[in-house]
Amino acid sequence: MLQILRQIAKTGIKSEPAPAPADDAVVAARLQQDIVRVLGRALTIRQVDAGSCNGCELEIHALGNPYYNLEGLGIRFVASPRHADMLLVTGPVSKHMAIALRRTYDATPDPKLVVAVGDCGCNGGIFGASYATLGGVASVIPVDATVPGCPPTPTALLRGILAAITAHAPPVTPDTEADATSPPDAGQNASSGA
């Protein structure tokens, strides 16, 4: 037990305000404000692998490590779509996962957001559309934001989550003006989708 405590003390707090570059601190701060503004509470995410090579999942896992400390931002991965505000979907959508993905979407309560992750989730990526794949998440369910990359870095994923939230944020009122000091652009790696 003593050794565990010693290791914890020695490790210290590794969480970064947000990963480099510097303006990402703004990303994190805005993300928290927007989550509260749009949802009024923490953001819960259900991840769905719809045919990914597992590369994107590795980076989504990394979001939970002490450096990115996703839970510290008020974002949590949940086990059921029924508990989720957002679906984070990877893969070119294999035809074998299309029905399961649709059902997961239907099981997610409104209002819900969908973020398509990775080059495959955006447009099929290297796998494209084939006899076995549909070529992107938007071919099955409506997508609010896309995060390209093979796989996208944890920072890019954070930006994508922000893009999805801000795309659905209510207009900024004088009360919330302080939140809107940073530019509306969501960053290079994330863009609002269909």
């Binding site: 990914s52 090579c53 059921s80 294999s94 035809k95 006899y131």
Partner: protein, 514 residues
């Protein structure tokens, strides 16, 4: 393997490891496999190619390996109605490979079990994607099949279906548990949900470019797959890559092993109720990924290994960084191992959980890391010493307990060894070019590449067409061998231990479903 008793002629096979090609005629395939089985050879892979466009019918290909090397058995079949012998009595892992071969190529085995494996009603059941005349129709909608699970009946037996969408950030697959109380009577897996048509997709690539797709067969093993692919292409082209390139590939391969093992050790702690372990190991893994990004240009080193060598030279500054990091990591690892070993609660979850005895492992063909935890002492890096491993001499990890604790222990041993190997590789790295141009690859010959990835041996079989395009590429993941073993490992365990047992194997869905 000695095929002499059957009077079979063997030919050389393009491969960086010792390998032979064994063409067999009808009726000899099973005999050749039985002979190899009697000589303790393992089944590595099984697939079918459609060669009707060059009047050669279909060809069943079986790769076996023993301590002397690899053998590719080639069994020509005149047409799709010709069945091939069922190998599952010798090699139980052949069952799913045979079913997959039918789903994709339309040639059936003589096995009793003819259920589909990779087919899930997304295309008509009488069309076969890897037949040369396959023409997909946009009218084909995703459908639902009615898979016949084996049912257990009796007093108090109930069933728990799980998946394909799991309660975590995991790849999709379906597990059907038959339960009494909380004990697992039987588990049946249904995989294939992430079938992306990888083998068909390869045909759209040139031999020189296919490494990118190979590196995305299973994202966590991108270096292993890209290396196996590159080695197959180089063996066909007769190219000897520069020594420095070989060393750099091994460096990347060991870094991949370190990152994955660290991640698994964290999740195994977490699944054992010890969140401290996840926080610590995921931090260390992130450190590794960040140094990878600096040194190799990508956190997972995707597209770093290319046919002919590697994509970029290693900056000496980064080489020092890699070395320094390994020294620091080795210290941290020793501390964390002691904590894991002495944590009574964690050891209580790990020990005697999900046991695969060495005897069962040998019968079922358990391979790779999980195999080494169950007395199957095979590791391509050690068994066929090549540069740089013939210089840095990796030590083979091994346990015989075969439980979760053994698979954890093998991971600890292998990370420690890989940290040593990275340092030795950096220190002994020869000078020279990091790549050589890939000469044209001769068509209609099969080349093999086989690499010990972190999960186990990864194989890529490659055949070029006359125009420099890929004619057929079959990637094979060790998960094919190990998935069926999990069905045995969970018997008699309690349902809540399944996630822990499953994680201790950490098999690939994408690499298996193709």
């Amino acid at each position: 393997m000695d095929f002499g008793p059957l009077g079979l002629a063997v030919a050389t096979l393009p491969c960086a490891l010792p390998a032979v090609r064994v063409p067999v005629s009808s009726g000899q395939a099973l005999g050749a496999c039985r002979l190899a089985w009697e000589q303790k050879a393992e089944l590595v892979a099984l697939w079918v190619t459609d060669d009707r466009d060059r009047d050669a019918g279909f060809c069943l290909r079986i790769v076996l390996r023993d301590d002397a090397g690899f053998a590719l058995i080639e069994h020509a079949l005149p047409d799709a109605s010709a069945q091939f012998p069922d190998l599952s009595p010798l090699y139980p892992a052949a069952n799913r490979m045979q079913r997959a071969a039918f789903d994709l190529c339309g040639v059936a085995s003589e096995a009793e079990d003819q259920r589909p494996w990779l087919w899930m009603a997304a295309w008509p059941i009488d069309r076969f994607p890897l037949q040369r005349d396959f023409a997909p129709s946009p009218k084909w909608e995703p459908g639902e099949e009615n898979y016949t699970f084996v049912r257990v009946e009796g007093d108090g037996v109930h069933e728990i279906p799980v998946g394909p969408v799991h309660a975590g950030i995991i790849e999709p697959g379906h597990f059907r548990f038959q339960i009494v109380g909380e004990k697992v009577l039987r588990l049946e897996e249904r995989l294939g949900y992430v079938h992306k048509g990888v083998e068909k997709r390869f045909e759209a690539f040139g031999v020189a470019d296919g490494y990118r797709l190979a590196g995305r067969v299973s994202g966590d093993s991108t270096v292993a797959y890209a290396t196996a692919y590159a080695e197959a292409a180089e063996a066909l082209a007769g190219l000897a890559v520069p020594p420095r390139a070989q060393w750099l590939r091994a460096l990347a391969l060991e870094r991949e092993r370190i990152a994955n093992h660290l991640g698994d050790l964290g999740y195994l702690g977490n699944d054992g109720g010890f969140a401290f372990g996840l926080a610590q190991f995921s931090r260390l893994k992130e450190d590794v990924l960040r140094v990878n990004a600096a040194a190799f240009g990508h956190r997972f080193m995707m597209d770093y290994v290319v046919p002919g060598g590697v994509a970029a030279p290693l900056d000496p500054v980064h080489a020092i960084g890699l070395r320094t990091q390994c020294t620091a990591l080795a210290r941290e690892l020793a501390t964390l191992r002691e904590i894991y070993d002495e944590h009574a609660g964690l050891q209580d979850r790990f020990r005697n959980c999900g046991v695969v005895t060495p005897r069962l492992a040998a019968t079922l063909g358990l391979t790779g890391l999980a195999g080494r935890a169950s007395g199957q002492a095979r590791d391509l890096r050690c068994d066929f010493l090549r540069p740089p491993y013939d210089t840095v001499l990796p030590k083979k990890a091994g346990r015989t307990d075969g439980d979760v604790a053994a698979r954890v222990s093998v991971r600890f041993d292998e990370v420690a060894e890989s940290l040593r190997l990275v340092r030795a590789i950096v220190d002994g790295m020869p000078d020279g070019d990091h790549a050589a141009p890939l000469p044209p690859v001769p068509p209609h010959r099969t080349g093999l590449g086989c690499v010990e990835g972190w999960r186990g041996p990864v194989l890529v079989a490659l055949e070029a067409g006359p125009d420099g395009h890929i004619r057929r590429c079959h990637p094979h993941d060790p998960s094919w061998q190990n998935w069926p073993v999990i069905e045995h490992a969970v018997i008699g365990n309690i349902v809540p231990d399944f996630p822990l047992i499953n994680k201790s194997f950490n098999l690939s869905y994408s690499g298996h479903d193709l």
